[in-house]
Assembly symmetry: C3
Homo-oligomer: 282 residues x 3
C-alpha cells in the first residue's frame, strides 16, 4: 500500500521508520507508513513552529502532494517537545512588505482550504501547546488527540486581535455554539483536561507515541468506508464554511493588510517585540 | 374527537382498536385513535419495509390525508418484528427505467417535505433496525423512541454512497454538529444505547407496546399548546433546510439519476444482488 | 474609571452606592460602579416589568447611553422581588392604535439589536420569573445567572402565539438546536434547575445579591481581553442573526401588525383581559 511522491520543500520519507532527526533542515517532514498508507506530517520549524510564509508554504505544498497521491489519511504533529505550533509568526506582521504580507495571508487561507476541506481523513496529534494559529491547524483536522498539561484555544482577543470568521467557523464546527461564543470572546486557553470536557479535543494521550497510535486508531475506523463517499460527505458538511471564505478571499486579505498596517497596531507590535527581546536577553 | 378520511393506497381505520392483521395487503396502515385523535402509521411492506416507489407513494399519500384532516399527531412505526425500515429498495436503482427512477427520488423528496415539515407533531416508534433511509424517516419526526438491541444510523458511506444534504440536514437538526460529522463520515450504525447517548433517539422502550405508549405521552405534551402556533414555530425552525431542498429539487434528482446510472455503480449493484441471491439460496 | 452620562428617561447614577429607592419614578435605573465601570440596569415598571412602549423606549435609550459612553459591561436585572420581566404588555396589543403598535414592535426590535449586538459584555441577573419577552431579554445577554424557584422560557406557543425568528435565533444561540426545537414547539417554561441543565442559564445564585456578585465575576473575566477585539468577535459571531432581522425589519413589523389586528386575536385578548379583571376583583 506504499505510495511515493515528492515535494519541493517538504521531505517525503518512503520508509515509515525513518526518524525525523535525519531531516533537520526541512520545515515540514511527511512520512508515509508502508503498511497503512497513512502520512505523518510533522511541523519542524524550531523552536515553536511559528507559522511564517515559508512554513505555511511547506504545509500547503505537502497537502497538495498528499492529495495528488490520494492519501489514505494524515496525522499532523510537531517535532517540538513542548509546542504543537505557537501560531502565526508576528515577524510577518511587523513592518511588513505589502506583497509578502498578502502572500502570507493568502497562503494561510490555502492551508485552511486544503486541510479543512481535504478529501482524506485528518487527525491532529497535539503534542504541545496550540494557541491561536496552532489551535486553528488542529481544528481543521477531523479529530484531535492531545497530550496532558498543555494549552489550546483561539486566544486572539487576549492578544488584542480578532479571529477571522473562518477561524471561528472551524471552532463552531467542533464545539457547541454556546461554548464557541464564550471561548472566542474570552479568548480562552483551555488546559488539556478542559479541552476534552468542552469537546475541543476528542481524546487525551499520555505522550506523543500514544497520541500517534491513537491517531492511527482513528484513521483505521475508516477502513470499511468508501473513500470517495467519505470525502464527498465531509465536503458537503463543510461546504458552507468553505464557500463563505471562497466568496470573500480577496476582501479578507485586504482587511487583514489594512488592520496590520495601522500605525497603532505597528506600535503595539514594536512594544511587544521589544519586551520579548528584553526578556530573552536576561 | 374522531376524524375520518380516506386514502387511495393506505387503509385508514376509523376505529382505534382495529388490528393491523386485518389489512395485510396495504403498504401503509393508518389508524386514528377515537379519543386522542392521534394517528398510528404503520409501514407494512414485508419483510423489511424496503422503501420502493409504491411504499413511498403510500407514505406520501397517507401524510396528505393526515394533513388534510388536521391530524393532532402521528406515530410512525413498523409491522415487522425486527426492522423499522431497511432503507431505500436497491431494486429501484438496479437497471432502472429513467422515468421511474426520477419518480422514485421525487417521491422520497415528497415524503421528506411532508414529514420534516408537517404541521402536526410526529414521533417515531422505532421497533426494529433503522439503517440509512429507515433512519432518515425517524429523523424527520420530532421525537424518537426505540426498542433495545437494534441499530440506527445514516450509514451511507459504509455502503459506498453519499447521504444527500437533506438527509444530513435532518441529522444535524437532531444531534450536535460535531457528532453529526463523525457519524456521517464514518457511516456509524449506533446501537439503541449509543443512539440515546448521542441524542439520536430520545427514549428507550422495552418493546413496541411501551414505545407506542411513550409516543402517546410525547404527543400529549402538546395538549396545552396552540396547534397553529406550534406548527408555525416548527416550520420556522426547519424552514432553512426545507427551502434549501425546494430550491434544488430538480438538480438533486438529476444528480441522483446521474450517480445511479454510472456503469461502475450498476456493476456494484449487480455484484451486491448476486451475493444476496447466493446467500438466500443457501 | 468613572464615566458619567445622562439619559432622557432613565436616571443614571454616578455613585455606585446610590439605592434604587431614590428613583421610584424611573422605568429604567442605570447605575455605574465607580471602580469597575460596570453599569447595573434595573427594570423598574411595577408590578411585573411588562414591556410596554415606554419601558422599551427607556431600555433602548439607556443602551444608547451605555454604548456612547463605552460601557465596560452591563448587568440587567429587575426591581421586582419575584419577576424579572413578565414579557410584552398585552395592553399594547388590545385595540391598538396603528402607529403606536408599529412603534411598539419597532422599539422591541431596537432593544434586540442593541442588546444582542452590544459592543460591551452583558449579563442577566434573573431575580424572578422570565417568561416570553422576559426570557428574550436575558437571551440577548451573553451570560445568565438565575435565582432559584423561578421559571424561564419562550412559552409563546402555550399562549397561542409564535415567537418570531429573531426570538428563536437568540434561543438557538444559547442551547442546542435539538433542545431549542423541543422548547420552542412545546413552549416550555423551565424551572431554574431545568434551565441550568439544558444550558438556558449559566449559573444559579441563591439571591439577588449573589446574582449581582456573580455577574460582576463574569464581567471581570474580560479584564485581560481587548475591548475592541472582544466586541468585533462577538459581533462577527452574531452577525448572521442580526443581518437577518435587519433585512426583514419592515416585513416583520407588518407581519406583527397584521397578526395582532386579526378579529380572532382581538377576541382572545378581550376574553383574556376580562378573565384577568375578574381574577383581580376577587
Amino acid at each position: 500500500m506504499l505510495r511515493s511522491f515528492a515535494s519541493k520543500i517538504s521531505r517525503i520519507s518512503l520508509a515509515g521508520s525513518r526518524s525525523f532527526s535525519n531531516a533537520p533542515d526541512k520545515l515540514v517532514v511527511a512520512e508515509v507508513d508502508d503498511k497503512t498508507g497513512y502520512a505523518t506530517v510533522t511541523l519542524n520549524r524550531p523552536p515553536v513552529n511559528s507559522l511564517n510564509l515559508e512554513l505555511l508554504t511547506a504545509i500547503s505544498e505537502t497537502l497538495d502532494d498528499l492529495q495528488n497521491n490520494k492519501s489514505r489519511g494524515v496525522i499532523l504533529t510537531s517535532s517540538s517537545k513542548t509546542v504543537f505550533s505557537a501560531g502565526l509568526d508576528i515577524m510577518e506582521m511587523y513592518k511588513p512588505k505589502p506583497e509578502r504580507l498578502k502572500a502570507f495571508w493568502s497562503t494561510l487561507q490555502d492551508v485552511w482550504f486544503k486541510l479543512y476541506g481535504s478529501p482524506y481523513p485528518t487527525v491532529a496529534a497535539i503534542n504541545g501547546h496550540a494557541p491561536a494559529g496552532g489551535c486553528l491547524l488542529s481544528l481543521c483536522c477531523e479529530y484531535r488527540i492531545m497530550c496532558p498539561n498543555y494549552t489550546i484555544g483561539l486566544n486572539e482577543t487576549q492578544l488584542g486581535i480578532v479571529a477571522p470568521s473562518w477561524f471561528q467557523a472551524a471552532m463552531r464546527n467542533t464545539i457547541s455554539r454556546r461554548d464557541a461564543e464564550l471561548a472566542l470572546t474570552l479568548g480562552t486557553l483551555f488546559s488539556t483536561d478542559e479541552a476534552l470536557k468542552v469537546g475541543l479535543i476528542d481524546e487525551i494521550a499520555s505522550n506523543k507515541e500514544e497520541a500517534l497510535a491513537k491517531a492511527v486508531g482513528f484513521l483505521d475506523r475508516f477502513k470499511k468506508v468508501s473513500a470517495q463517499a467519505r470525502s464527498m460527505t465531509k465536503q458537503a458538511l463543510r461546504s458552507k464554511d468553505i464557500m463563505e471564505l471562497e466568496d470573500n478571499r480577496s476582501q479578507d486579505i485586504d482587511l487583514f493588510v489594512y488592520a496590520v498596517t495601522q500605525p497603532k497596531v505597528q506600535q503595539s507590535l514594536e512594544l511587544y517585540l521589544a519586551a520579548l527581546k528584553k526578556k530573552s536577553a536576561k
